[in-house]
Amino acid sequence: MTVNEPSRRIARISKMARALAAACALWIVGVTLWHWTHPDKVALNARLIWGEVFGGFSDSQLVAGFASNLLPAGAGLAALYCLWRLFGVFLSGRIFAAEPALWLRRTGFCLIGAAAAAVLDHTLEALILSLNLGAGHRLLSIGFPSLFFFGLLAGTIAIALGEVFIAAAEMAEDHAQIV
């Protein structure tokens, strides 16, 4: 293994991670748009989640549902942007520095934000999609989708790793001042 092998490996992984983050962002935007422009899929999905017979949505319901869905999607996109920036810093060769630690912590906060937004979206969507149903059939559902637990766990880990990176950056700075 040559001296530059680890940095080359980090650069390779960083490029892959950035490509994946970009692909994931496109996927989120694409799937969200596709989902809300297909009312039959919205109804099917709602039936799977809440077990109620949904359908006959008005345009305003679909727009409101889409807007509600933008909350976790937006937070997810923000997390992906932070990951993009994080691996951009790694790609430039700065590993144990304050900047990647900052982007890692921001990623964590965005993921936790996405988790919280997913819970809110779950409640809002149920309410929005059941608005056209008769009295007694409208849904007020508070649920914890799988994204909530994933976001919470991944976000907490990212924030913790960010703190570790801050400590590592301080150590690296100290080390650089030893001749």
Partner: protein, 72 residues
């Protein structure tokens, strides 16, 4: 800092230039300059050993503890 680096004194005694010492012990001239001015957080034993070997001196000839006056 109460630790004084007397490397410049030793260099003068041995009539050696910083550049030459840096080249002989294998560290950057800039780092040696920082060491001379005491603007470093630490010195590796390895660096100290090489400097002592080149200048034919003891670590005590290079480093000196001078307590700061009380109240400062």
């Amino acid at each position: 800092m109460p630790i004084i680096v007397n490397l410049d004194v030793m260099l003068a005694k041995r009539k050696m230039r910083s550049r030459d010492l840096a080249a002989r012990i294998g560290i950057a001239e800039q780092n040696l300059s920082l060491l001379k001015s005491g603007k470093v957080k630490g010195v590796r034993f390895e660096t100290l050993e090489r400097i002592c070997a080149e200048l034919d001196c003891q670590p005590g000839d290079l480093l000196e503890y001078r307590p700061e006056p009380a109240g400062e």
